[in-house]
């Protein structure tokens, strides 16, 4: 589920804006154009912050609320950027019964964000995921491409400290 305002300041470039406007121009006459426009926008920016949704609203005349409603309905859309280090905690069945819920909650507390969000410095983002195919190592989390298994809450500080 998407969350509220991104804590990371918006830093869109002129090139991104032009790419978005071009995409909107190509799509906006079509019926049901909002979904493909949002997908394109997320391709361009990596997420759908308020500034991007406002641009889409201004260009298409679709009310902001309608855009926000769609963006928060589909789990493929995110209102928050991903961090330099993307943490995914597996909440699949095996990991969950082995306590990955506690790992996830502890990370939220340590990073001061909830799932789906990114820390204000842009360093870590946190998401829950389903099975990563390493059930034997449960509970498992990934940071970018690195897999950490047989985790306990006590391991987390040491692991996070490795990422500067």
């Amino acid at each position: 589920m998407a969350d509220k305002k991104a804590a990371v300041p918006f830093a869109g470039t002129k090139e991104q804006e032009e790419a978005l406007k071009k995409a909107i121009d190509e799509l906006k006459g079509e019926k049901g154009a909002l979904m493909p426009i949002l997908q394109k926008a997320q391709d361009i920016y990596g997420y759908l912050p308020r500034e991007v949704q406002k641009m889409i609203s201004d260009e298409t005349g679709i009310p902001m609320e309608k855009i926000y409603g769609v963006a928060t309905f589909y789990s493929q859309f995110t209102l928050n950027p991903k961090g330099r280090y993307r943490i995914s905690v597996c909440l699949g069945t095996a990991c969950y019964v082995k306590g990955s819920g506690d790992i996830y909650n502890a990370l939220m507390e340590k990073l001061g964000i909830v799932g789906g969000e990114c820390t204000p410095d842009g360093k870590f983002s946190l998401d829950a995921c389903r099975c990563v195919g390493a059930c034997g190592l449960a509970p498992v989390m990934m940071i970018n491409e690195e897999v950490y298994g047989r985790l306990t809450v006590d391991d987390l500080d040491g692991i996070l400290a490795k990422y500067e």
């Binding site: 589920m1 998407a2 509220k4 305002k5 308020r50 949704q53 609203s57 201004d58 009310p63 902001m64 609320e65 309608k66 855009i67 926000y68 409603g69 928060t72 309905f73 589909y74 789990s75």
Partner: protein
């Protein structure tokens, strides 16, 4: 249109092809309960209250969206269906704030009625996880309490489809879904125009106006204050519904009597200032026509429309008449002319208005509405709040005698009273403008081309050798169509009347709530408007410029329409706003 034959509950029924089971059943006198369905506005088949059995169909189908077919066999009231509906209600109640005793909707809540009807015995039948929301009190005129929301989407459908505003809608998904604005903005921070059509559409107590009845009682209790009340034209033809009168009953006399018994020092009438508005607006129109002013000129009586224009057409504000609305003109003239005449300092006068409108609560707080250095109008309550006030102070409305309004601000003409219906302001203005232009008396005062409940009406009148082209729109979706033409330079109208609510003020967001069962099948706005036109037809004076009290105000105080003093007191300015 082709008809199809079907059986509903064993009865042979004929219905037009393409109609829904629900419409066919209604035609045959069979009621199927609904919650989310608003005809032509919200047809999403989501709430499952209207489920019926169709022979051969898989599972239960939603009658509101399922089309009839030849030979179809439908059952609407089997035990299985009644159980299914009851279960749906129990599920809705599992995350509903069931504080009915203190709920503004108690007694006329569509959800509550259905629970009674279908025999829900245990409101906590499914006790599970609950959502809790902080009510949104950020808007000047209303409150959204999502704890009472059943997610039927009637409000957001009206906002987007009828009013072309779309500042509310469903956010998130599944159990986390709630109705709100983009990025959890409070309604007060959005480009909401305050029309209150969402309130009128809501089946429960989730949406309601901010209640100012206690402020009224406090003002009346304060002996140092002279409290006057004004009532908008549309209020008198709807208030009766709250006391069991049939829709379209004009209760003007009883309303005046009730206001006097509530304790107002003077019971006046906004119809008076509607006449005053016509004097100024007709003058402004003639001035624009004769001196090359910005045309088309657009009416400025409807605060929802004004705010809409400021948010969505900020580049077109020069078209708006600079006239204050009748509510504000009334307050302004009360605190200047009347205050002087009575020898009461304006700061000791409290001006209360009773309006069919929620946007009026916002309007009275606007800048440039302080003719005497104090707010023109102090408190604005809706028709619903007046009914509440009448009940609160223990008045038996039905047994009241018919009384009149007080002098001098209670005297009005038929032109003033029709302000409450779409086309009414235009007709009233034409009655005066045409006579001014031609210098001759009209053969008949009616301009029937601009009457009726169509969303957009056009007419051309030849006046003193000039073709005057007028347009009338009600409902902001229709206003948008006109405004896009004006913006594109494709409109050759001279004068446009726009009212924010569909059908005009008679159907305003502050009027008595109409149950969806009625609203879906009756033309509420036409029924109420007819009462206004009947009231006009029964009047001996039907043109604003013939109102003796109006003449006197100009003679004694304002001079001529459009005079410097009139401008100071009766005209206003607008601001550019953004879309949020």
């Amino acid at each position: 249109m082709e008809n199809v034959n079907l059986k509903i509950n064993g009865l042979n029924v004929t219905a037009p092809a393409g109609s829904t089971i629900l419409e066919a059943a209604h035609g045959a006198g069979i009621r199927i309960p609904t919650l989310c369905w608003l005809k032509e506005i919200n047809e999403i088949g989501a709430c499952r209250m209207c489920v019926v059995e169709v022979k051969g169909a898989k599972g239960l189908v939603a009658a509101c969206v399922y089309p009839v077919a030849e030979g179809m066999e439908v059952r609407t009231n089997t035990k299985r269906l009644l159980d299914a509906r009851k279960r749906t209600l129990e599920l809705l109640l599992s995350t509903h704030d069931k504080k009915c005793l203190s709920c503004v909707r108690s007694g006329h809540c569509e959800l509550q009625e259905l629970c009674q009807e279908l025999g829900v015995e245990d409101e906590d039948h499914f006790a599970g996880e609950r959502n809790h929301y902080e009510p949104d009190t950020s808007a000047v005129h209303m409150i959204r309490d999502n704890n009472k929301c059943i997610l039927c989407r009637r409000c957001s459908a009206v906002c987007e489809k009828v009013q072309s505003v779309g500042v509310i809608g469903p956010n998130n998904r599944g159990f986390a879904t709630f109705i709100g604005s983009a990025f959890e903005m409070g309604l007060g921070d959005t480009s909401c125009v305050g029309c209150g059509q969402c309130i009128a559409a809501c089946p429960t107590g989730a949406l309601y106006e901010k209640d100012n009845t206690d402020d009224v009682l406090a003002a009346i209790a304060d002996e140092s204050k002279h409290v006057v009340v004004q009532t908008a034209p549309a209020v008198r033809v709807a208030l009766g519904e709250e006391f069991g009168y049939p829709m379209g009953t004009d209760v003007e006399g009883k309303m005046a009597a009730a206001l006097r018994r509530i304790g107002f020092d003077k019971v006046f009438d906004t119809d008076f200032s509607a006449d005053l508005t016509i004097m100024e607006e007709a003058h402004e129109f003639l001035d624009r026509v004769q001196n090359g002013g910005v045309l088309p000129m657009m009416t400025s009586c409807s605060p929802g429309w004004i705010k809409y224009c400021e948010h969505y057409y900020p580049d077109q504000l020069a078209h708006l008449s600079s006239c204050k609305s009748p509510q504000q003109m009334f307050g302004a003239i009360t605190k200047t002319y009347y205050a002087e005449k009575m020898g009461i300092p304006p700061e000791d006068i409290v001006c209360v208005s009773v309006m069919p409108c929620t946007a009026k609560k916002f309007e009275l707080q606007r800048d440039d509405q302080y003719a005497a250095g104090v707010p023109d109008v102090d408190i604005s309550i809706t028709t619903r709040e007046l009914a509440r006030l009448i009940r609160k102070v223990g008045i038996n409305f039905r047994s009241l005698p018919d009384e009149g309004f007080d002098d001098p601000l209670g005297e009005s003409t038929g032109a003033g009273v029709i302000f409450g219906a779409t086309g009414g302001v235009m007709e009233a203005a034409l009655r005066t403008a045409v006579e001014k232009l031609t210098g001759k008396e009209l053969e008949k005062p009616e301009f029937t081309e601009v009457r009726g409940t169509d969303g957009i009406k056009e007419a051309t009148y030849n006046v003193a050798g000039m073709d005057v082209k007028v347009a009338v729109a009600s409902g902001l979706g229709n206003a948008k169509i006109i405004m896009d033409k004006v913006r594109a330079g494709e409109a050759d109208y001279h004068f446009i009347e726009i009212m924010c609510c569909p059908g005009g003020c008679v159907n305003g967001g502050g009027q008595p709530r109409v149950h969806a069962d009625v609203r879906n099948f009756e033309d509420v706005k036409a029924i109420r408007a007819k009462a206004l036109y009947d009231n006009d037809a029964a009047k001996t004076i039907r043109k604003s410029h013939e109102n003796p009290a109006i003449r006197k105000v100009y003679e004694e105080y304002l001079g001529e329409p459009g005079s410097e003093r009139a401008h100071q007191i009766l005209h206003t300015t607008y601001v550019k706003r953004t879309i949020n």
